[in-house]
C-alpha cells in the first residue's frame, strides 16, 4: 500500500510539474515574450527635461553702450533705459556707460555729416561686434535722435531719453516682434515672414505676356545676382540662399482693369483692384513650377504689362490710388510681384523695346524680401530720424534684431515641437521611436540645454540646429504608427488563440497553488 502511495505521489508530483511547466512556458515565458515582441519600440526619452521646458520664459540678452559727453547725461540716459526695460521679460539689456574721450567728442563736434561721423567714430568704437549697440551723444542734431545703418544711435541731449527708449523698443530691439516670435499664436510679423529654415530658393520670374509685340530688355541673371545676391549675402549667417530666374512667356492674366481717362501721356490708366491681385499669384504659381525645388521658394515676379493694357495702377481696398511710381505688392509667405508698365513713348513706336528700370524694380523686390525674411517695417517715431535705406544691404542692427528674433523663434518652436511629441507619445501608444529619432530628440534637447536661448550669434546657430533636430524628429517617416492593429481588431485575432489555451492553464494554476501549499489537491470523491 505504501509503495502504491509513493507511486501515486510521484505521479502526482509529475503531473504537477507538468502543469507547472505549462504555466511556466505560457505565462512566465510566453506572456512576457509576447509582450516584448508586440511592444512598440521606443527608446527612452528625456521626458523630464522636455516637460521642464518653458517656451514662454525665454528672453534674449544684449549689450548696450551709452556714450555721453558727461557722466550726468550718461547716467540719466542709462537709468531711463534701465527703467523702461527692467520689467521686460523678453529682453535683458546689459548697459555700460562711458564718458567719451576727448578725441571722440572732437570728432562728433567737428564732423557734421552723420554718416561721416559714424565712419570716423568707427575707428574708436568697435561697431563690428554683433549684438552690441551704441547710443552716442552728438550735440545739435536736427532731431532728438538719429539712427543710421550701423550699430549706433546719436542723441542730442538728455531730453531725448524718451525717444531713445521708444526707438530702442520699436526699432532696435523690436520687443513686440520678439514677443510674437515667442508666443503660441503668430503675430503679424510671424505670419508674414517665412518659417525658419536652413535654406531658401529665391526665384525671379519675368512674366512677358506678349513677346510678339514687344521686346523686353532685362538681364534677369545679373539683376538677381547683383541686387538679391548682395542682399542675401548679408543674411548668410541665418540661411543659405539659391538664386534663380526664369522667363514665363505668354502667361496672360485678366486683371479686369477699369480704364480711367486722365491727362497724361497715355491719356488713360487701367485701375486694378487689390482683391484681384491674389488671383495673379495663383496664375503665376501654375507656371512657375516652384514645387520642383526641394526647399521653400520665395517667389518674385516681374509682370510686364502689354502695351494695350498699360499703364496699370493698383487701387487698394478702400479705393485709393497707389501714389508711387512703382506698382508692387507682396503676399505673406509667398513672395512679391512688381507690375511694370512700359512708357507711352515706347508703345507708340514701331519696334517696341521696353527696359524696366533695374534699380526701381529691385528696390521693390528687396523691400519685399526684407519683410518676407523677417526684417519688419519701422514705424515712424516722433522726434526720431531713421536714415532711409539707400542700398540693398540691410542695416547692421536690423540683422542683429533678426538674429535675435529667429533664435527666439527657433528655440521656442523646437521646445514646443518636443513637448507636442512627448504628449503625442503619451496619447497614442502605437508611435514607434527608433534609435535615429531618439538621437535627434536627444540632440535637440542637449542643444536647447546648452543655452540656445540667449540670442547671441553663436546661439543662433545652436537654436537653428535644435530646431532642425526637433523638426526632423517629429516628421521622421519611421514615426508613423502605421499598420498597427486597432485594439478591437487585435482582440479579434488574439482571442480565438489565447482564450482556449489560457483557460485550462489558468484553471490548473489553482490546483498547482494548492499542491505547492501542501493542501489536498483533489477532493476525494466520497465513496
Amino acid at each position: 500500500m505504501g509503495s502504491e502511495n509513493n507511486i501515486s505521489n510521484a505521479d502526482e508530483s509529475n503531473r504537477m510539474w507538468a502543469s507547472a511547466s505549462f504555466v511556466g512556458v505560457l505565462i512566465i515565458i510566453g506572456m512576457p515574450l509576447w509582450w516584448k515582441t508586440t511592444e512598440v519600440y521606443r527608446v527612452s526619452l528625456p521626458y523630464e527635461k522636455i516637460s521642464s521646458f518653458k517656451p514662454l520664459s525665454h528672453f534674449v540678452t544684449t549689450e548696450l553702450k551709452v556714450l555721453a559727453n558727461d557722466d550726468a547725461t550718461a547716467s540719466k540716459i542709462v537709468s531711463e533705459i534701465q527703467k523702461a526695460f527692467a520689467e521686460s521679460d523678453i529682453i535683458k539689456i546689459k548697459i555700460e556707460k562711458t564718458v567719451m574721450s576727448e578725441r571722440q567728442q572732437h570728432i562728433l563736434r567737428s564732423v557734421v555729416d552723420m554718416e561721416k561721423a559714424v565712419e570716423e567714430l568707427a575707428s574708436t568704437l568697435d561697431l563690428d561686434q554683433e549684438n552690441i549697440f551704441h547710443v552716442v551723444q552728438k550735440k545739435s542734431l536736427s532731431h532728438n535722435i538719429w539712427v543710421g545703418n550701423e550699430r549706433i544711435m546719436f542723441f542730442d541731449d538728455e531730453k531725448a531719453s524718451e525717444t531713445i527708449v521708444k526707438a530702442l523698443d520699436g526699432w532696435i530691439y523690436q520687443t513686440s516682434v520678439l514677443r510674437g516670435a515667442r508666443s503660441d499664436t503668430p503675430d503679424q510679423a510671424r505670419s508674414t515672414r517665412f518659417p525658419p529654415e536652413s535654406a531658401y530658393h529665391i526665384t525671379l520670374s519675368i512674366v512677358h505676356p506678349r513677346p510678339d509685340t514687344m521686346q523686353v530688355v532685362w538681364n534677369a541673371a545679373e539683376a538677381v545676382e547683383d541686387y538679391i545676391g548682395s542682399f542675401v549675402d548679408e543674411l548668410s549667417s541665418l540661411h543659405n540662399f539659391t538664386l534663380k530666374s526664369q522667363w514665363l512667356h505668354l502667361l496672360d492674366f485678366e486683371f479686369q482693369a477699369r480704364e480711367i481717362k486722365e491727362a497724361s501721356e497715355w491719356g488713360r490708366h487701367f485701375a486694378v483692384r487689390q482683391d484681384r491681385l491674389s488671383l495673379l499669384l495663383t496664375r503665376l504659381e501654375e507656371r512657375a513650377a516652384t514645387h520642383v525645388s526641394e526647399l521653400s521658394t520665395i517667389n518674385l515676379a516681374l509682370y510686364i504689362v502689354p502695351c494695350d493694357k498699360a499703364p496699370i495702377i493698383i487701387y487698394d481696398n478702400e479705393g485709393r490710388k497707389n501714389p508711387l511710381s512703382i506698382q508692387a505688392f507682396m503676399s505673406p509667405k509667398w513672395g512679391g510681384v512688381v507690375i511694370a508698365s512700359p512708357p507711352a513713348e515706347q508703345c507708340s513706336q514701331q519696334v517696341r523695346e521696353f527696359e524696366p528700370s533695374v534699380g526701381q524694380v529691385m528696390g521693390a523686390f528687396v523691400s519685399h524680401l526684407r519683410e518676407l525674411l523677417g526684417i519688419t517695417k519701422k514705424d515712424a517715431i516722433e522726434g526720431a530720424h531713421l536714415e532711409p535705406l539707400r542700398s540693398v544691404s540691410p542695416r547692421r542692427w536690423e540683422v542683429d534684431a533678426l538674429l535675435r528674433i529667429r533664435t527666439l523663434e527657433q528655440v521656442t518652436s523646437a521646445e514646443r515641437t518636443l513637448q507636442s511629441l512627448a504628449q503625442l507619445l503619451e496619447e497614442i501608444s502605437n508611435i514607434v521611436i527608433n534609435d535615429e529619432v531618439g538621437a535627434s530628440i536627444a540632440a535637440a534637447v542637449s542643444e536647447l540645454e546648452a543655452g540656445a536661448g540667449e540670442g547671441a550669434g553663436a546661439d543662433a546657430a545652436r537654436a537653428g540646429r535644435a530646431h532642425a533636430h526637433a523638426q526632423r524628429a517629429f516628421t521622421h517617416p519611421s514615426l508613423l504608427a502605421l499598420l498597427y492593429f486597432p485594439d478591437d481588431q487585435k482582440y479579434a485575432i488574439y482571442i480565438p488563440l489565447f482564450l482556449p489555451i489560457m483557460f485550462p492553464v489558468v484553471l490548473s494554476l489553482r490546483i498547482l497553488l494548492l499542491w505547492f501549499m501542501g493542501k489536498p489537491v483533489h477532493k476525494e470523491k466520497t465513496d
Binding site: 504537477m16 530688355v217 545679373e222 530666374s245 512667356h249 505668354l250 528700370s357 488563440l497
Partner: protein
C-alpha cells in the same frame, strides 16, 4: 534715381549681355505621315537649345523646373516617355522615336556622380512630382543598367565606363492622361496658348490608337572641337489616329486636334509642318492649302517626298488638311526591314516562357541587340535560353546576363545577334512563377502583372521606313537627304502580361481563425494528458456488467 550716364552705360551692358543670355533657340516641328490604309501618324517635336554660357539657375526659353532637376542630380542625358498603346512596326513602319508602353525613364548621370543609385531614386521621385506620374515606384528592383542596348545620343566625355552611369526603368502599368500632358505643356516656352502646342488638346489626343509624350535632354556640341556643349531639350508627342475613330480617312487639323493652328510660337526660330506625301502616288490625296514647297529626300536608297509649310507667328488659324481623291482599298504594304513580336508561352501557374520573334526581311544580315528585362517575381533562367530551339547559336555575337535577386534586382539579359537575311529568329526563355507576400500584391492582382517591353537596338543597313533623325542633329529637317552607312534605331517590342498565382485575399483572417482553432483543439487534450491523471474508477470490488462487456470486446480485438 539713375543718373543718365550710368543709365546709358547700363543699357549698353544690358544689350550686350542680353544676346548672350537669351541665346536660347526654340524650334517647333510637326511631321504628318499617312500610314495606309487607315492610320495617320503625327509627330510633334519641340526643341530648345539652351545656351550654357550662363549658369543653369537662370533660364530664358528653357523650362527652369526641368533644368533645375537636371542640374541638381547632375544628369547628362535623360529620356522620359509616357505612352499608351502599342506601335505596330510591321504595319506602320518606324516612328521617329520609339517608346515603351507605360512610363519609361533612362538617364546617364555625369561621371562626377558616385552614388548613381541614390541619385537615380531621387531623380525619379522628383520627376514624379513634375509630371504627375507614379515614377516614385522606380526602385532598385525594377532598375537595370543596360550594357549594350542603349548608347548616349549626346556628346559625352570620353569615358570607357559610360554604362555604369546609366540607369533604366520602365513602368508598363503607368497610365497616361490629361494630368501628364498638362505639366508637359508647361515646360514649353509658349505653353499651349500659341504655336504647334496649341493643337495638343487632351480630349483629341487621348482618342487615338497610340499616343506618346516624351522629354529627351542631352548635351550637344556647340563648338567645332566639342569642348563646349549646350543642353538640348526635346519634347515630343507621337500620335497615331485611326480613321475608324475619326470616321474618315480625310484629315485636317480641325478633325485631328479639334481646332486650327493659331499661328506659330512667337518665340520660335522656326515653326514648320512636314507632310509625307510619298503615298500620294498610290493613294492620291490633295493637300489644302497648297504646300509652300515639296522636298525630295533621298536617304539610304529610299525616297521620300515631303510637303513643307512654314507657320508664321502672325498667321491666324491655319488648318492643313488632306482629301483623298480615290479610295483604293487594296494597299500593298512594304514591310520594314526588321520587325518583331513578343508573347508568353505556357499554361498553369508554375512555369511559362517568353518568346521574342525577330524577322529580318532584308537581303543582308542585320545586327541587333535584344534586351530582355524581367522583374524579380518572374525569374528567367539563362540555361533555358533557346534561339530557334537551340541552346547555342552562331548568331549570338555577345551576351550579357545579370541574374535577379528576390525583391532587390530584376533579371536582365542582353544578346547581340546577327540576324541572317530573310529569316525569322525566335528567342525563347523560360520563367517560373513565384508567390508574392500578401502585402506585395497590388489591389487589382487579378488583373495580371505587366512585364516591360524588350528593347531592340538595330543597326539597320537601309533607311526604308526609317524616319529618325541623324544622331548629331537636333531638328527634323536635318533628316532630309541624310544618307549614312548605318541607320541605328532603338525599338521596343510590345509588353506582355502574365497572371501570377493570386490568393484569395479574404484568406488571412480565415487562416488565423482556422489555425488558432486547430492549435486550441490540439492543446486541450495535450494539456489534459500531461496534467491530469486518468484513474480507473474502482468502485467496490466487482466489475460491472458493462465493464465486463467492454473488456470482452477489447480482448476480442487483440
Amino acid at each position: 534715381m539713375f543718373n543718365s550716364k550710368n543709365f546709358l552705360f547700363f543699357i549698353a551692358v544690358f544689350i550686350e549681355t542680353i544676346f548672350n543670355a537669351n541665346g536660347d533657340l526654340f524650334n517647333e516641328e510637326l511631321f504628318i505621315k499617312p500610314l495606309p490604309p487607315a492610320h495617320l501618324y503625327t509627330y510633334f517635336q519641340f526643341t530648345t537649345l539652351v545656351n550654357d554660357n550662363l549658369s543653369s539657375e537662370h533660364t530664358y526659353l528653357a523650362p527652369r523646373s526641368l533644368v533645375e532637376v537636371l542640374t541638381r542630380f547632375q544628369v547628362d542625358e535623360l529620356h522620359f516617355t509616357l505612352t499608351e498603346g502599342q506601335w505596330r512596326h510591321n504595319h506602320w513602319g518606324y516612328p521617329v522615336l520609339d517608346a515603351a508602353p507605360g512610363a519609361e525613364l533612362y538617364a546617364w548621370f555625369s561621371s562626377d556622380v558616385e552614388n548613381v543609385d541614390t541619385q537615380w531614386k531621387k531623380l525619379s521621385s522628383t520627376l514624379a512630382g513634375l509630371f504627375c506620374a507614379s515614377l516614385n515606384f522606380i526602385e532598385d528592383f525594377n532598375t537595370i543598367t543596360p550594357q549594350m542596348a542603349l548608347q548616349p545620343t549626346g556628346a559625352i566625355p570620353q569615358n570607357p565606363n559610360i554604362t555604369s552611369q546609366l540607369r533604366y526603368a520602365s513602368l508598363p502599368r503607368e497610365i497616361v492622361c490629361t494630368e501628364n500632358l498638362t505639366p508637359w505643356k508647361k515646360l514649353l516656352p509658349c505653353e499651349s496658348s500659341r504655336g504647334l502646342s496649341a493643337l495638343l488638346n487632351s480630349r483629341m489626343i487621348h482618342n487615338t490608337n497610340y499616343h506618346s509624350i516624351g522629354v529627351h535632354t542631352r548635351k550637344v556640341c556647340s563648338s567645332s572641337d566639342c569642348s563646349v556643349v549646350s543642353l538640348e531639350i526635346k519634347q515630343t508627342v507621337a500620335l497615331v489616329y485611326d480613321s475608324k475613330i475619326i470616321r474618315t480617312t480625310d484629315w485636317s487639323f480641325t478633325k485631328l486636334f479639334g481646332q486650327g493652328l493659331p499661328g506659330g510660337c512667337p518665340l520660335a526660330s522656326s515653326s514648320k509642318v512636314y507632310v509625307d506625301i510619298t503615298t500620294n502616288d498610290t493613294q492620291p490625296f490633295l493637300l489644302s492649302p497648297e504646300p509652300e514647297k515639296v522636298l525630295l529626300s533621298q536617304r539610304g536608297g529610299s525616297e521620300t517626298k515631303l510637303a513643307l509649310y512654314t507657320i508664321k507667328p502672325e498667321n491666324k488659324m491655319t488648318t492643313i488638311g488632306a482629301k483623298y481623291i480615290s479610295k483604293k482599298d487594296l494597299v500593298l504594304m512594304k514591310l520594314p526591314p526588321l520587325y518583331f513580336n513578343r508573347y508568353v508561352l505556357g499554361y498553369g501557374k508554375e512555369f511559362g516562357g517568353i518568346v521574342t520573334e525577330l524577322t529580318n526581311t532584308f537581303w543582308s544580315s542585320i545586327d541587333v541587340v535584344v534586351l530582355q528585362n524581367a522583374p524579380w517575381w518572374l525569374p528567367i533562367q539563362l540555361s533555358s535560353l533557346r534561339i530557334n530551339g537551340e541552346a547555342s547559336s552562331e548568331m549570338v555575337l555577345a551576351r550579357h546576363y545579370s541574374p535577379g535577386r528576390s525583391r532587390q534586382k530584376p533579371y536582365h539579359l542582353e544578346l547581340l545577334l546577327r540576324l541572317p537575311p530573310k529569316s525569322t529568329t525566335k528567342i525563347t526563355i523560360d520563367f517560373e512563377f513565384v508567390f508574392l507576400k500578401w502585402q506585395e500584391y497590388p489591389p487589382d492582382a487579378n488583373h495580371g502583372f505587366y512585364v516591360g517591353s524588350a528593347i531592340i537596338t538595330a543597326n539597320l543597313p537601309t533607311a526604308r521606313n526609317y524616319t529618325s533623325l541623324p544622331g548629331t542633329a537636333s531638328l527634323f529637317e536635318s533628316s532630309i537627304n541624310a544618307s549614312k552607312p548605318w541607320y541605328p534605331a532603338v525599338f521596343r517590342t510590345n509588353g506582355v502580361m502574365v497572371s501570377l498565382p493570386t490568393p484569395d485575399f479574404s484568406m488571412p483572417y480565415n487562416v488565423i481563425c482556422l489555425a488558432c482553432t486547430v492549435v486550441a483543439l490540439a492543446f486541450g487534450p495535450l494539456h489534459n494528458i500531461c496534467t491530469k491523471e486518468l484513474v480507473l474508477k474502482v468502485v467496490g470490488s466487482s466489475v460491472t456488467l458493462k465493464q465486463k462487456i467492454i473488456n470482452l470486446f477489447k480482448k476480442k480485438k487483440e
